[in-house]
Structure formats: structure tokens, C-alpha cells
Symmetry: C2
Subunit: 245 residues, 2 copies
DNA sequence: TAAAACATTTTTATCGATATTTTTTTAGTT
DNA sequence: AACTAAAAAAATATCGATAAAAATGTTTTA
């Protein structure tokens, strides 16, 4: 999400509890373990994560700025809501930034970049199913593949924004998967993009990428629309709600 | 910077100390009162602002996610560095987003939008000099004018990102002004944009806007380059450094 | 039965205190 | 004078405690 989000000690400062909390919360939200509108009560998080209030609040503040969490003064934090309109909005922006970054990456990618793309593609293609117990792994490699494609783009800020949008988009995908998974030929789309990139067919690559993103979004929107019709419970966190009768 | 950044009580929660700290810090950074790389020591800020450590750290965390501040684990916060390369990067992105938002705004702006634009333009044109003691006021109206132009864009996320980039850009302008001001015909450029917008000459408006932004950035880059050649002192905050001899 | 008023419980935002880490200063060596 | 090493000072990250606010539950009133 952010430029630097260390969880382990490294040259640029050691991992603080805030960093750890940020990573865990971020991951829980992006993977759909924490669904939209879920209340993020400091009290509970403290127990669940074993981290004090201050680092938690700092992490949540960062996430709020990232747009993954909402804050309301005196009323605490919640996972950001998810709506079809917002998904469309995000999708449109993601396409704009992704294609821009891809275009530049294809212009300036050298041999090392190519090698990295080939490697990322290879790893991704080794896990066939989009689902199953190896899903997190697939998700990870999918992420790395898409990142590898744009890695040669020379604009750090563009890459940063693109990454943020990727995350937002991923959250929506995760939410949809949480309800039901749609199957389609993702691998095929990936392969087409892969080929276009290596052959430097810039416009093709951008267009294929656009369609890939849009297609995903449409499927997610469908699932989302079907479920948002239902009355949304004011979700708590883990705490089992009392059921009448 | 953010969707909602209240400083005064409103429907969506009352203003917390965190909000106040955020506003003040944000303003100090964007207006150039806090220069790049300035150390933001909690201890000192506490005295200066009369706000405790926790709200300060939360505000700084948000600013860090916004990219206006850097954090290094165990080594605290600093105002984000400013480099010519980063300015160029930001400029490029800002142009991308600004023109995109403007294009859409021009497509869907109705009569109310027009009226708001006319009003914003009028207010801006009433303060002639770009400098002087009324500079903050001019800056404010400039902001409002540019915001009015894109206000009819229907993508909240795009407007949000655009606003973030505007702020980043403003910071660079402020830094440059801090050293020396460049004079040119800003009003003329503004007027040209204004006319193109009202007459819905979309491509013209975008191009004029692009040039406007790029032109500003080039001037700022010049000032910045001239000054970054000098050895950068490890700036402290207010605390007078001991001068040898 | 519904609404209003009040009392309780829970949670938030914030402060002050503190162990740990970093930075600065001082002293000691080659 | 230029490095190191040790000591002192300052700053950071974090915890626990608490006033204020919000949410929840209960009783009273119409």
C-alpha cells in the first residue's frame, strides 16, 4: 500500500508494533477475513492481536488514509464499506493507472526485466486452479506477476498509486470469493497479456490488461449486487451475535 | 488530502485532537512553514501544539500514508524530502489525473456547476498579485477555482487522488516561494482555462491545464535545483543550532 | 405499546509514565 | 588531529490508567 511497510528489521528502521499491526490488519482486510463495515474495536483487537492501543490506533490511522478503513470521530474505526459504485470507480482508475504504468514499463524494460517477467509467469502458471487450499499462494503469485509486468516503469509515484489501486481491487475480489467464486479462463487472459508484453505489443498489452481488469470487476460486481440486496447486518468482530429464538 | 478531514464538529463525528493535529501539520507542510526533511520530534511538537503524543503520532501516521511525511522505525518522523525527480514524477501524474477529471467534469457539468465556476473565477480574479501579504488568501482562492473546475466529475476516487496530487504539487510550489518567487502571467493562463471550460472546449481546456501545470512545475524545478546544489543542513525544528565560532 | 428518561456498560480518545533505542557529548588512544 | 569507546542526554515506541462519549438495557410514563 505504502512505499515502505516493513514487518521485519531492515536497514531503514526496525519493525515496530505499529508496522506489525498494519501488516496484519491490512492482510486481514485485503484477504476478506475482515468484511466491509466490520467494527474494528480497539478493545477486541487488543486481545486478538496482543498489541496495545497506541500502535493499533496508529496502524488504523494509516489504513484510514489508505482508504481501507473509515474513522468517525469518537466512534472508532470500521472496515471501509464496499459498494458496486465504488468498485466501478476503483476499476476505472485502476485501468487508467495500470495501462499507463504498463505502457511505460514496456517502453523501458530491459533484459533483466524480461527475465523477471518470465520467471514470475512461470511460477504463476505452475498453480493451475484459481481456488483450492493453495489459493493464498496463487494470489501471491498473481500479485507478483502483475507487479513484474509494470516493474520497469520509472515513475515511483505511479507504481505506488497503481499498487494502492491493485490492493483496493483485490479487496473486492476477496469479498466476492468469500461468497462465491466465479470460474473463467484467467490463465488464458494472463497468458495473452504475458505474450503481448514480451513481444512489446504495447497497445495490445494495454487493451488485454484493460479487458482483464474490467472482466474481473464485472464478475465481482455481480456477486456483490446479489448480496448487497440482502439486509446488511451491523457486523461485529468474531463476537457471536445472539440469535433470537 | 483525505476524504473527510474535519476540524470542526460536524455530523460525521466531532473533531478529535488527532484531527486538529492533522490539519495543523498538514497546513504547515503544504504552506512551506515546515521545510522538507525537517525533523518532526514528538517532544517538540507537543510543546508547540499543546497536544499529547498519541494524537500527534496518529496524525503523523496519516500524513505518512499521504506521502507528506516519512517514518523510520525507532527514528521518528520527518517532513518528506523534496527532489526535482520527485517533482517531475508528481507533475506527470497530476497532469494525468487533472486532465482526466477535467474532461469528465466538462462532460457532465450542469448549470449549477457553471455558476460555481463563474463565482470561483470571479473571486480569484479579484486578487491580482500572486504574492504579497494576501498570498494565503490568493492561494486559497486558487485552490477553490481549480477545485470548482473539476467538481462535476462523478468519480469520487479520481477527485480524491487528484486532490492529493494537487496538495503534493502545492507543497513544492510553497517550497519554491519560500526561496524566491517567479513572476509570470498566471492570471492569463487561468483566464484561458476558464474560458475554454465554460465554452466546453474540452481538448483545449485539458491542454491549457496541462501546460499550466507543467509550466509551474518547471519554474519550481529551477528554483529547487538551484538550492539543492547547496549543502542541505540536517534541519531541526525551530531549535536554534549552535553556530561554531 | 411506544416513547421518554434514566442508569449501566462498553468503548473511545487521550494523558502521563517508562523501558529501549538513538543521538550527542565527553574522554581516551594511536 | 582523527578514531574509538564510554557515558550522558534526548527521543521513540509503547503501556496502563482514566475522563468523556456512545451504545445498550431498564424502568417509568403517557
Amino acid at each position: 500500500m505504502n512505499a515502505a511497510t516493513p514487518t521485519e528489521p531492515n536497514d531503514a528502521g526496525s519493525a515496530t508494533l505499529t508496522d506489525i499491526a498494519y501488516s496484519r490488519l491490512s492482510d486481514d482486510i485485503l484477504s476478506g477475513r475482515l468484511l466491509p463495515d466490520t467494527k474494528l474495536a480497539i478493545e477486541h483487537l487488543r486481545r486478538d492481536y496482543g498489541i496495545g492501543a497506541s500502535p493499533l490506533r496508529e496502524a488504523l490511522s494509516r489504513l484510514a488514509a489508505d482508504g481501507l478503513v473509515t474513522v468517525i470521530g469518537q466512534r472508532g474505526f470500521r472496515v471501509a464499506p464496499a459498494t458496486v459504485a465504488d468498485l466501478r470507480d476503483i476499476t476505472r482508475l485502476r485501468i487508467l493507472l495500470e495501462t499507463e504504468a504498463l505502457r511505460e514499463s514496456l517502453c523501458s524494460g530491459d533484459e533483466d526485466w524480461e527475465a523477471a517477467v518470465v520467471a514470475a509467469w512461470y511460477r504463476l502458471s505452475k498453480i493451475e486452479p484459481e481456488r483450492g487450499q493453495r489459493f493464498p499462494e496463487w494470489e501471491q503469485r498473481n500479485h507478483e506477476f502483475h507487479e513484474a509486468l509494470v516493474a520497469a516503469c520509472r515513475s515511483p509515484r505511479l507504481l505506488q498509486l497503481r499498487a494502492a489501486l491493485y490492493d483496493q481491487h483485490r479487496r473486492y475480489r476477496s469479498i466476492a470469493v468469500h461468497y462465491r467464486s466465479a470460474d473463467r479462463d484467467v490463465s488464458g487472459e494472463h497468458e495473452a497479456i504475458y505474450r503481448a508484453c514480451l513481444e512489446r505489443r504495447i497497445d495490445d498489452a494495454c487493451e488485454l490488461s484493460r479487458v482483464h481488469i474490467q472482466h474481473t470487476a464485472d464478475l465481482v460486481a455481480e456477486v456483490l449486487a446479489a448480496n448487497s440486496a440482502l439486509p446488511q447486518p451491523a457486523r461485529g468482530r468474531g463476537r457471536p451475535r445472539k440469535v433470537a429464538g
